[in-house]
């Protein structure tokens, strides 16, 4: 029984229970050291044998005592590793949608935009009428609405609804620059490609002299921030009831570079949302004089973009943290 061996044994011990076993093994009543003491009578030099054995016992007691002091730190080794700072992702993680929203918020904050929000349960007035979509307007068919109490109370179908609240509340405190990420709802069956809740991002500016040039330049800046300087975006005429003129941004298909493929349904371009100059009727309904002020609004979906960024092919994975975790041991 050599002290070095015991030292190694104690040194490699990683838990208090393991250390206790070592203590019992060597120092217990029937432990190895006591068993050695029983041999003292037969020793050639009992005195020397006794001194050495006592020294060994004291050394082992000291080693175990020292180990007892540091063991909790070793047992918390994982915690130390988690908190150590050597460039690994040891902190928690934001949801991918939050990351995308923050990327966009950052672009707009630098341009002086506030971040805004409003209720999700809304009235028909805020979701449709204040956006120039009166009852029986065909545009309502484009949005399958989830009703809380038909026809008046519903779950907002678009972030333009936040614009309705914004204009009503802040319409007399112009100019306005606001951006708003938000959850919106459509009565869609949940499957691989569709969900009843998804995320949109919208930005609104109202000021004197706002033009389509401001709108297109700002949207292009946003797309370059998201997709890089090489992104090719075109802006074309597109109809939305709440804007006039309407503008549709299309991104050149990243898969075929405009040649046409199944991903872009052979168009060569992918529709990236909608925008335009805020319709005079929308401004009027908020008490804003459209002869003095003009504004733009644009909105886009975040889910598809975030999924593409993260190689997620099933929208259900994005919502509900359906983490496809597969523990595997070699």
């Amino acid at each position: 029984m050599k002290l070095d061996e015991i030292k190694n044994e104690i040194g490699s011990c990683q838990s208090t229970s393991e250390l206790e076993n070592i203590r019992i093994k060597y120092l217990g009543r029937s432990g190895l050291i006591n068993q050695e003491f029983a041999k003292i009578k037969t020793a050639t030099d009992p005195k020397q044998f006794g001194i050495e054995l006592n020294n060994l016992k004291n050394s082992v007691e000291k080693l175990i005592s020292e180990k007892q002091n540091i063991l909790p730190k070793i047992e918390n080794c994982e915690l130390k590793i988690e908190n150590s700072n050597f460039g690994l992702p040891k902190i928690g993680h934001l949801h991918p949608i939050t990351i995308t929203e923050r990327q966009l918020n950052e672009v707009f904050r630098k341009l002086g935009f506030s971040i805004y929000n409003s209720p999700e349960i809304v009235t028909d007035e805020y979701n449709f009428e204040r956006l120039n979509v009166p009852k029986n307007h065909p545009a309502r068919d484009m949005q399958d609405t989830i009703y809380i109490h038909e026809p008046n109370y519903l779950l907002r179908t678009q972030t333009s609804t936040i614009e309705s609240y914004l204009l009503q509340k802040e319409g007399q405190n112009l100019p306005i620059r606001a951006a708003f990420p938000g959850s919106v709802y459509r009565n869609e069956k949940v499957n691989r490609s569709n969900h009843f809740v998804f995320h949109q991002y919208q930005a609104v500016v109202i000021d004197r002299g706002v033009t389509m040039k401001d709108l297109i330049g700002t949207m292009d800046l946003m797309f370059k921030t998201l997709y890089g300087d090489g992104v090719v975006v075109r802006y074309r005429c597109k109809y939305y009831p709440e804007v006039e003129p309407g503008v549709g941004p299309d991104m050149q298909c990243f898969n075929c570079h405009g040649a046409g493929c199944t991903l872009c349904k052979h168009a060569g371009w992918i529709e990236m949302g909608g925008s335009g100059m805020i319709h005079p009727k929308v401004l009027e309904m908020a008490g804003i004089d459209h002869h003095i002020y003009s504004g733009f609004a644009f909105g886009m979906g975040l889910d598809r973009w975030t999924m593409a960024q993260n190689n997620i092919t099933d929208i259900r994975t994005l919502m509900g943290g359906n983490l496809a975790y597969k523990p595997t041991e070699l």
Binding site: E78, F86, I115, N136
Partner: protein, 581 residues
């Protein structure tokens, strides 16, 4: 909508543009064109026409736009009239939901199989060829964008009456479908039989090869009524798609002229009645005071007044100089749009027309808004949410987003229920985040995720005093229990700019592959140093985490989680890193 290049030339005989350019140009001026393809020797475009442009659900409307874009002459419509007859049709209209009906009887026709060109036309448009007369009615609808109908008068008689359903409980459509109908349905009948709906013909008076006498009619209705009828009966037809939009009643004379002549040309026969025309209240087209500078003001680029005037004139607008000579500097006009453009009602609509033909692509893309100090109206709640997220993430929590609609009510008395959710299993708005987070935890446990710690900030909902209430809640799982806190109860910061140090390993939803490795060393070593050594050998883009889960003597068990890669790649890298081959 399908568009056949060669038939577009009916209205634009000088059109000679490469199909690819035509596709792109149509899209740029507002008619999204997916693609073009060659079908049966024809170049065919696939278009998505927006709800405000009912006029472009016909070739004529699209041709008008293209004639302006390419500055090409538009074939003028024939309104030279049909032969007169001594017979006046006994048609009656007994409802306000009809804006205009024109009808004429054609007699002694010989109906038969359609000629090849006609069969091909309807086939490309996704319809079955029935016979010449029926196919020609469809052809006229596609060309002019206005639905029409042909009645076999040996079955319907001439006594057609447009009215709201007076008594019928069922309607049998052309394809034999039985539809239960109530009094809100606009229809054509003859006092004894339901002959046709506004948007779908009936079996009782269907045209077949034995038809010799027919009444053809074009009509424009109250679009809301057609829309409601179509929705109520859950039937969408090509006619309904058009009639629920604003169509031009003034186009009907040309359209009926066109169809009548085609029928006589292809089926023989002759006009057997005078034209019946019900149009009690001709629609007025608004005259708009238009400042030609407004196109420049709205677009932000200089668009000359001359270009504006020319564009509007080519669109068919009547452009008259300012009637007040004292103010006439040539920049303001009184503009009356053509009747076919029901979507143009205000000055901004005219400006859009000018800008879209000037070209959105002429607006520079490199001049965003300047940064400007504007009053910050960000609600403090948003600052708080961002602050909490950053703090929790720095403490090792992962953020999750769960479904706001759930299957069970926490408190049935105050829960808010959706009325029409098609996901029948989730019909309640959640009243707490806790059940959702419990489900999340169960899922993580099933997947044996090591040491989960996660949170969600989301809305919870309830009813109180007849009001719908929604508030932000924070739900956390700290490794031991799930807690919920209302954000209203927390102190809100005056401002908070979230960290821009986004953890690049954001992909919580990516597949994580966890592999263990037992490594025997010759002597005990500091675990943290070991992790550092091994982690540096793995690409950070695929390394999610690394930890030592067991140490026995000099044997160290590492658990490594990989992401952004497949199982095979992870295993290969793992074996190489820990020298396990």
């Amino acid at each position: 909508m399908k568009l056949i290049y060669s038939h577009l030339k009916t209205f634009l005989p000088d059109l000679n543009v490469e199909p690819q350019k035509l596709r792109d140009d149509l899209t740029m001026i507002g008619h999204w064109t997916n693609y073009f393809e060659k079908i049966e020797g024809e170049i065919v475009f696939d278009l998505d026409i927006k709800t405000n442009r009912g006029d472009c659900l016909g070739y004529y409307g699209l041709a008008r736009d293209l004639s302006v874009l390419y500055d090409l002459p538009l074939e003028s419509l024939s309104n030279d009239g049909l032969p007169k007859s001594n017979y006046t049709l006994p048609i009656k209209v007994e409802t306000d939901n009809v804006t205009r009906v024109m009808a004429v009887k054609i007699v002694h026709i010989q109906n038969q199989k359609s000629p090849d060109w006609l069969q091909k036309f309807v086939r490309i448009h996704g319809a079955n060829s029935i016979n010449t007369l029926v196919d020609l009615t469809n052809y006229a609808m596609y060309m002019y964008g206005i639905p029409n109908h042909a009645f076999d008068t040996s079955k319907s008689t001439d006594n057609l009456i447009w009215q709201m359903n007076p008594k019928y409980t069922e309607f049998r459509s052309l394809d034999g479908t039985h539809l239960p109908i109530d009094k809100s349905i606009l229809m054509v009948n003859n006092r004894s039989t339901a002959l046709s709906l506004s948007f779908w013909g009936g079996e009782s008076c269907a045209i077949d090869n034995s038809t010799t006498n027919t009444i053809i009619e074009f009509a424009v209705y109250n679009p809301t009524t057609v829309h409601q009828n179509s929705h109520q009966l859950k039937v969408t037809t090509e006619a309904a798609t058009r009639l629920e939009k604003f169509l031009d009643p003034d186009l009907i004379p040309s359209a009926i002229n066109f169809l009548s002549k085609l029928i006589i040309e292809n089926c023989g026969g002759s006009i057997g009645s005078n034209i019946y025309d019900y149009y009690p209240n001709p629609l007025e087209t608004p005259s708009i005071n238009f400042d030609h500078n407004s196109s420049s003001i709205i677009s932000g680029i200089n668009i000359p007044t001359d270009f504006s005037k020319k564009t509007l004139t080519n669109l068919g607008c009547v452009v008259v100089n300012n009637p007040d000579p004292a103010k006439d500097d040539g920049t303001v006009s009184l503009v009356t749009p053509p009747s076919i453009r029901k979507d143009i009602t205000i000055s901004e609509d005219l400006a859009e027309e000018v800008i879209r033909f000037c070209g959105y692509n002429n607006i520079p893309k490199d001049q965003p808004l300047n940064s400007k100090k504007v009053k910050d109206i960000t609600p403090a709640e948003i600052f708080l949410i961002e602050q909490i997220k950053d703090r929790l993430v720095s403490e090792g929590y992962d953020e999750v987003i769960t479904w706001p609609l759930v299957s069970e009510a926490v408190d049935p008395k105050t829960v808010i229920k959706t009325e029409n959710s098609i996901n029948a299993e989730v019909i309640y708005l959640r009243q707490s985040l806790i059940p959702s987070l419990k489900q999340q935890l169960d899922q993580y446990k099933r997947y044996k995720l090591p040491n989960p710690k996660f949170f969600e900030i989301g809305k919870i909902y309830h009813q109180a005093n007849g009001q719908y209430v929604e508030k932000y809640a924070l739900g956390t799982y700290d490794g031991e229990k799930i807690n919920e806190t209302m954000l209203d109860d927390l102190e809100k910061p005056d401002s908070y700019i979230p960290s821009d140090q986004y953890n690049h390993a954001i992909e919580l939803t990516s597949q994580i592959i966890s592999l263990d490795a037992n490594v025997n060393l010759d002597r005990p070593q500091d675990p943290i140093s070991l992790i550092k050594i091994y982690s540096e050998q793995i690409d950070k883009d695929i390394l999610w985490s690394m930890e030592i889960v067991d140490i026995y003597q000099t044997r160290y068990t590492f658990r490594v989680s990989y992401y952004n890669c497949d199982d095979k790649t992870a295993k290969k890298i793992h074996l190489k890193t820990f020298n396990l081959n």
